[in-house]
Symmetry: C2
Subunit: 162 residues, 2 copies
């Protein structure tokens, strides 16, 4: 637990956690390459976009055929693994909120399953090597990638209010 965030005042943990995280297993399918490391990472993806920083995905080359059908300009949903997150926080007190808030009401990386989701634009791809260029993302360089999905408005936008 040495590299995990410290508990802040007002934060509440589930002391024994939820048990060992063995209900299912993940495989890292590649890495996200960004300009960011701890200390200089943008606060959110909008800020990363404003810096026009660009980013790259290095997919496991064995999976390159699974990119067939993707085209530059297309929106994507990326899922990736926040490996430095705490998994035992129930209430969190990030600096930008005035009172501790539940983990499921926050986009904090600290959650029982620290999977992050971001929507990006595919700028280019090289199916021979499994490399993708995207517009921007706000994670650390080397973040493990879990999934690439086509972004689809009927699935990825909530329904219109009645």
């Amino acid at each position: 637990m040495t590299d995990l965030p410290e508990i802040r005042p007002g934060e509440v943990t589930l002391p024994d956690g939820l048990g060992r995280a063995e209900d299912a297993g993940l495989v890292f399918i590649g890495r996200i390459r960004t300009p960011w490391k701890r200390g200089d990472c943008p606060r959110n993806i909008a800020s990363a976009r404003a810096q026009m920083s660009g980013a790259r995905i290095e997919l496991d080359p064995r999976l390159a055929p699974a990119l067939t059908g993707l085209a530059p300009g297309q929106p994507l949903l990326l899922l990736y693994w926040m490996h430095n997150a705490r998994r035992d926080l129930l209430l969190q007190a990030p600096k930008h909120v005035d009172a501790p808030r539940g983990t499921f009401a926050l986009r904090s990386p600290n959650r029982p399953n620290p999977i992050a989701a971001s929507s990006v634009t595919l700028i280019g791809l090289d199916p021979a090597t499994g490399t993708l260029e995207i517009d921007a993302i706000d994670c650390f360089d080397g973040t493990p990638l879990l999934d690439i999905k086509p972004w689809i408005s009927t699935v990825d936008m909530p329904p219109e209010r009645p």
Copy 2:
């Protein structure tokens, strides 16, 4: 592998897979309760919504405090686990496409990490029991839940085209 989908003509697998899925572990935080079982599940979430079916999340009660701050009417992003999926498919031939397409260009449940993502509307919640009512979803009854996030347009919609 007995309960997994059969390989269709034109589909391509990674014969030895990507290795054992042990890069990270998941914990199931609850279950999604729906009217659907194999054979009568809507094709997609839009179809489930059109049926006004409703659905319920039964969160592990120990995690109920982590709902603090969520409010009915709010859009949510749900991540859940497609436990009957194949993880070795590179090219897939679902009935609705005319030629085999890469796994990462499809929303198929069959993918190296079978995590599904859907955007829904929170209809109601009971923080005492950890139960949430949502508008609709297109997964089988009993599907394991991985995460609940507030849906945020700047993160969950791709950027405007320049």
